[in-house]
Amino acid sequence: MTDIPLLSLAVWVPIIGGLLVLATGSDRNAPLARALALLVAVVGFIVTVPLYTGFDVGTSAMQFVELSPWVERFNINYHLGVDGISVLFVILNAFITIIVVVAGWQVIEEKVAQYMAAFLIMSGLMNGIFSALDGVLFYVFFEASLIPLYLVIGIWGGANRVYAAIKFFLYTLSGSLLMLIALLYLFMESGGSFSILDWHQLPLGIDAQTMIFFAFLIAFGVKVPMWPVHTWLPDAHVEAPTGGSVVLAAIALKLGAYGFLRFSLPIVPDAAQQLAPLVVTLSLIAVVYIGFVALAQSDMKKLVAYSSISHMGFVTLGFYMFNSLGIEGALVQMISHGFVSAAMFLCIGVLYDRMHSRQIADYGGVVHTMPKFAAFFMLFAMANAGLPATSGFVGEFMVILGAVQYNFWVAFLAATTLILGAAYTLWMYKRVVFGPVANKHVAELEDINGREFAILGILALCVLAMGLYPFPFTEVMHTSVNELLRHVAVSKL
């Protein structure tokens, strides 16, 4: 088993498969493109399964490592590997890809091959981000992954898609340029190494650490997105097709958060500790401020987009409290948010496909015509509100417990999400699903079909399984998180 380059397969199977799908060409071959895309997505997922089953939870070292020279002149390597922090995201990403392919099955009727290919290639690139151990390789994947998403929003998006796509692109690109500078600086300082693991051990002065910290903060903060650089996300979500929103929320937002754990914390631990109050403050603003903003939304997708920002605020909050409850809670929250936000956007997509409206005011009484859908939507809404026995609870609970250890007032503000999250989610649910049938369009709605039932059902199982038994998820993380905390506690000055 160990001889099979699993991570390379996880990266390249979707990318090459995506190119093959692209080769099917015009929409005349759409059924072929769909079938091939599903096959690739499933194979892409299957190759990631051994990453979990074969994962050694006892070590914090990188596993499934692949190392070969790439650009020898600059000491750039094709260096892949995963630890307890990243492995779950590779699997989650491959899993979500299947969901996205199936979700777009009937909905996308134009440029099918291109649509499917974009998602497959994006999936491979994102696996590259989560497993890259070389700075340049990481950067290449990080930037390259922008392109498919940009295209997805720009081509299959809504009316205002061009504005949204460009806003998304410029926002994230300007952030990552700062990261490039930081990476080059680290290359110089380390005497010519692009290895992320080398950088972890590299001693740095506090001024250099601070500069690098801010470069990373902006680069990753935009991706997360953190307040106040979050305004691209609601626009991008609103314009993106359902699949785009799913990937954006479930995976793309995790890239920034992952960057904090792989780069900021271990490379510049002193600056991270010193400036943690800043990040904690921004995170709390994200949780509270955005919670209120979500309450005021009249567009379902915008509401869930803001809810995503608020939930991601919990992630960055958890990271910068420097205790294991916080970091593991944040990681759990990331995985859970992958399921829940994906499901929420799929639910909105189900409604949008039928009514072509995202406005809450256009709905009401959906439960009468779509009872099965209403049941699923209820489950995911409750998960979004962090109800125990759903995955949404686990991470929030852990981060709040961690926050009480860190500072009571931080916990106090963070815990307001219990009220705000329930308020904006369930108020939306009430207006959309409950009540008398609002209009004749709602009266004509058809309940979810088998395909929709299948994807929502699988996600529902994931949400419940993780809520009832998070042990298998957290078990993987412990050693790596503890090692990270131990590493961060040692000054580099």
Binding site: E328, A389, N407, A415, A423, V433, G435, P436
Partner: protein, 673 residues
């Protein structure tokens, strides 16, 4: 079969029923659904009886079922703590639930959501059992939120009703405010003890009492207890988090009995009793509990007086009785609180189910002003209601007498700050309780028959949603000439079965529960608190207590309440109307429920929406997007426009610029030299 399997059967049997009825409701049909859920709860009840006997024989259990998650030394577990408190709660929950399940066959007959309803109430039973059987804070919180979820689903069961879906959202959110405090309390416990397990936490209670909090400097244990109690205030509807409970009456009546009277709302009381080793060490927290409880007990009772909806009268009565239990907790009479919880579960479930029976008889008219003289037409409902009302007002020998009198005595003996105020509240509360209970009783069952010309104007507050009403009758209230009829056996049987404990249970259980060894090692009362000790010394058996009760103030207060209600509503109905006119401002205050709802609606709900809109329009769209993001874009385009001005294409301008440039450079160069 070993006991541990039995423990598992108790919650899992109803869960199985809930899953079958919920997911396969169409397949198994209406009968299949109620058979499987009732069987599940019945098995659960029988198993609870066996567990109870086992606990009485001295066998307790405290162990893990499975490990949810581990984090360093902190382990998150699902586990059971089976002791006398748990066993008693299990019996109450499964018994009342079983009664309500049976009753539902009659009440929900013809409702399109029949299977769904059975699924929900079985799911509720499961959640509530998990809550009371827990041996740790994680599972407690699980159960806590799960019962809240089912309550939410059931209040909004008739989701066509605008009032119902408003009420369920309100209930969920107000409970979330309580959970907010509850979660912070749990967080403090974990932060300072590193454990979620009750026993481990209780073992460190002494240490906690000596500590102060890091950031705020507050005494730690007081903060923990108050945070936990805020959770209890939400779930057990204490002022000011009580606002959701009256509105929850929008749900079908069986769940008002099961969830919003007998079991779920007592979760907070149960929790504080369970946490007695913590609360006992903080007098500040106990005083807080006493004052909140006393306020609830009296002031919610007042509101019961002016209600005309039969269910709302019982709802305010529930609030008031929950206040009594809370007061008992505050004066360290935990076993008294739990005792009242138990007696109240029986007689309040009875009163609610009887109210439901009246509602069926009245064809879904809930206005007591349209009733009267029902005793003739609904004899079983009438008689059981009378027994329930007597139990509620604490008439000697009835269950409520023993529990309420014990609480009043305990308040009387207590020295905790706030106990004086509490004594005033609970004593006056006895009069108020008797008055509103018998006002309702007389208006419904005695006097002139006022039904048959239902005035539809009176139903606005519970909506006109005929197509969603549980009854097949598509009209509200009785048509002229129609008579109310006694309900079928599935409805009256639970009434009778609940009436028996409502009358007898206090008599038989007061001695072991309050003064015996029953709660030994489970409920802890500090030496500095009186609790029920003084009462124990003067206790000479339940008969002596009842006879002594005939000579005490509470009895005469209750009697005068009943007499006044009789005089006002049967003999001389002009008087209450005159009083209402004379004290119009007071009546308006009560009518508006002390303006709590208005305040919340304007300040919290309206304020949040306004704040959200302000932050969105002003912050996100105005400042961040408007000024910074689009501003940057504008700046870039301005710079490029400006620089494009220089590219005029006129050679003389370029030459001129070049010369100036050379001149400037030269100046620099020369100065540098």
């Amino acid at each position: 079969m070993d006991m541990q399997t039995l423990y598992l059967i108790v919650p899992l049997a109803p869960l199985f029923g809930a899953i079958v009825a919920g997911l396969f409701g169409k397949l198994v049909g209406r009968t299949g659904s109620h058979v499987v859920t009732i069987a599940g709860v019945a098995i659960s009840f029988i198993a609870s009886v066996l567990v109870f006997q086992d606990v009485r024989a001295g066998n307790t259990f405290n162990g893990t079922v499975y490990t949810w998650m581990v984090l360093g030394d902190l382990s998150f577990e699902i586990g059971f703590l089976i002791d006398s408190l748990t066993a008693m709660m299990m019996l109450v929950v499964t018994f009342v639930s079983l009664m309500v399940h049976i009753y539902t066959i009659g009440y929900m007959q013809g409702d399109p959501g029949y299977q769904r309803f059975f699924s929900y109430i079985s799911l509720f039973t499961f959640s509530m059992l998990m809550l009371v059987m827990s041996n740790n804070f994680l599972q407690l919180f699980f159960g806590w939120e799960a019962v809240g979820l089912v309550s939410y689903l059931l209040i909004g069961f008739w989701h066509n009703k605008e009032t119902a879906i408003y009420a369920n959202l309100k209930a969920f959110l107000v409970n979330r405010v309580g959970d907010f405090g509850f979660l912070l309390g749990i967080g403090l416990i974990v932060a300072y003890t590193g454990s979620l397990n009750y026993q481990e936490v209780f073992a460190k209670a002494g240490e906690l009492a000596a500590m102060d909090m890091d950031v705020t400097g507050w005494p730690l244990l007081t903060a923990i207890c108050i945070c936990l109690f805020i959770g209890a205030m939400g779930k057990s509807a204490q002022v000011p988090l009580h606002v959701w409970l009256p509105d929850s009456m929008e749900g079908p009546t069986p769940i008002s009995a099961l969830i919003h009277a007998a079991t779920m709302v007592t979760a907070g009381i149960f929790m504080v009793a369970r946490m007695s080793p913590l609360f006992e060490l903080s007098d500040v927290a106990l005083s807080f509990v006493v004052v909140i409880g006393a306020t609830t007990a009296l002031f919610m009772g007042f509101l019961g007086i002016i209600q005309n909806d039969i269910k709302r009268v019982v709802a305010y009565s529930t609030l008031s009785q929950l206040g009594y239990m809370t007061v008992a907790l505050g004066v360290s009479a935990y076993s008294g609180a739990v005792f009242h919880l138990m007696t109240h579960a029986f007689f309040k479930a009875l009163l609610f189910l009887a109210a439901g029976s009246v509602i069926i008889g009245m064809h879904h008219d809930q206005d007591i002003r349209n009733m009267g003289g029902l005793w003739k037409h609904m004899p079983i409902t009438w008689f059981t209601s009378l027994l329930g009302s007597l139990a509620l007002i604490g008439f000697p020998f009835f269950a409520g007498f023993y529990s309420k009198d014990s609480i009043i005595e305990a308040v009387h003996a207590s020295t905790i700050p706030g106990a004086g105020y509490a004594l005033f509240c609970v004593l006056l509360g006895v009069f108020v309780t008797a008055f509103y209970s018998f006002r309702m009783y007389f208006l419904v069952f005695h006097g002139k028959e006022r039904f048959g010309h239902a005035n539809h104007d009176h139903h606005d507050h519970h909506g006109d949603q005929d197509e969603e009403e549980p009854s097949a009758d598509h009209h509200h209230g009785l048509a002229p000439g129609q008579k109310p009829h006694e309900s079928p056996l599935v409805v009256t049987l639970p009434l009778v079965l609940l009436a028996i404990p409502s009358v007898l249970i206090g008599f038989f259980t007061i001695e072991p529960m309050l003064f015996g060894e029953f709660f030994k090692g489970v409920i802890f009362v500090g030496d500095n608190h009186v609790g029920l000790k003084e009462l124990a010394e003067s206790f000479h058996g339940p008969v002596a207590m009842a006879i002594h009760g005939l000579q005490t103030a509470p009895f005469w207060l209750a009697i005068s309440g009943v007499a006044l209600a009789w005089y006002f509503y049967l003999v001389n109905p002009a008087i209450p109307a005159a009083i209402q006119r004379t004290f119009q401002p007071l009546h308006t205050l009560l009518e508006n429920k002390y303006y709590f709802d208005r305040f919340n609606e304007v300040v919290f709900a309206g304020g949040s929406r306004l704040l959200g809109k302000g932050l969105w329009k002003g912050g996100d769209q105005g400042l961040i997007d408007g000024v910074v993001v689009n501003g940057t874009a504008k700046l870039v385009s301005w710079v490029s426009r400006m620089s494009s001005l220089f590219q005029t294409g006129h050679l003389y301008q370029y030459a001129f610029t070049m010369i100036i440039g050379v001149f400037v450079l030269l100046t620099f160069w020369i100065n540098r030299g």
